[in-house]
Symmetry: none
Subunit: 188 residues, 2 copies
């Protein structure tokens, strides 16, 4: 079942540093969409509506709410691979963020809450296994899907799967392969 994620006025108020009365007034004015419960008239705000409202008013969006299901983080530095990957991912409707090193990847992981991460295993200075380990050991990242771009036919392939990778793509050019696997993983 699809669990509807909603907020109360109090929660919304705390998220934007405001009194709950003010949130109710925003709703009354029609600036923020919400529905009412029959009993006391409690307001419930769908997270999507709330995030949209925050964006419309250029207010900061709390990272735990930003979870956009089509956001993908690509960790790669080779310009060719980066460009090809971005294009392939955008073609299947993804919102792509690119990181060139582990640190930036980390900031984007925590800041943008992507649903999926693509790691170029050949990237020097990046330990993909370490990253995967960390993701799998943290509940807040445990269900981020991970696709690894790794040379075909090596024993590493099995290592990646054991470490928790959701899919492997045999190196570079196969942009259609990447796109297909990402699409599949995001649709489940």
């Amino acid at each position: 079942m699809s669990e509807l994620h909603v907020l109360t006025t109090g929660e919304a108020a705390r998220y934007c540093g405001v009194n709950f009365r003010t949130v109710i007034r925003w709703i009354e004015r029609g600036q923020l969409k919400a529905y009412k419960l029959p009993g006391r008239g409690d307001h419930r705000i769908c997270v999507e509506d709330f995030v949209g409202f925050l964006r419309d008013n250029s207010m900061p969006v709390p990272s735990e709410l930003a979870a956009a299901s089509r956001k993908v983080l690509l960790l790669a530095s080779d310009p060719e691979l980066t460009a090809a990957g971005r294009q392939a991912l955008q073609q299947v409707g993804c919102d792509v963020e690119v990181a060139g090193d582990s640190f930036v990847a980390g900031t984007l992981m925590a800041g943008c809450k992507p649903a999926l991460m693509v790691i170029d295993a050949n990237l020097v200075g990046v330990n993909g296994f370490q990253i995967l380990d960390h993701l799998r050991s943290r509940s807040e990242y445990a269900n981020v899907r991970v696709v690894v771009i790794a040379p075909a036919g090596e024993r590493d392939q099995q290592r990646w799967l054991n470490a928790g990778a959701d899919a492997l793509v045999a190196h570079p050019g196969e942009r259609s392969e990447l796109a297909a696997k990402v699409k599949l993983l995001l649709e489940v």
Copy 2:
């Protein structure tokens, strides 16, 4: 849930002995980051941004606000250094988060919004210069203070300063040195 701690223009003005009109002008000029409420256009200033602004202009930081941003991120993996560093930092009242690699450091930087970061320059697999570059080039991280633990008497020391480090500590043991410099940077 992440509760947003924010200030109004009036509060910010009182904190730095200034007219609220002036605070608004700082915001309009882009010197102080803030967002607006949809109604009357009230400004809300995140405490971290405000403290960063105060530090950037060497204005005194009120203790009750400094307490809110005493969070420090320690990037190190050597167990001895990690333990010593954590202890030293806690002794000067810091709230310490430890990362063992760049990726984790990135997630903590974006997730915990530390006011200061300590980087062990000897950590293999970590390019501190790259991290520093990234911090300095992003407005949201630009006023995070950075202390580097680097071997004394090398030409690297100057490179670190040029790259934007706020202070250097000559390698390991000198825990009192680390604590003192961190304390200084957080209090100015």
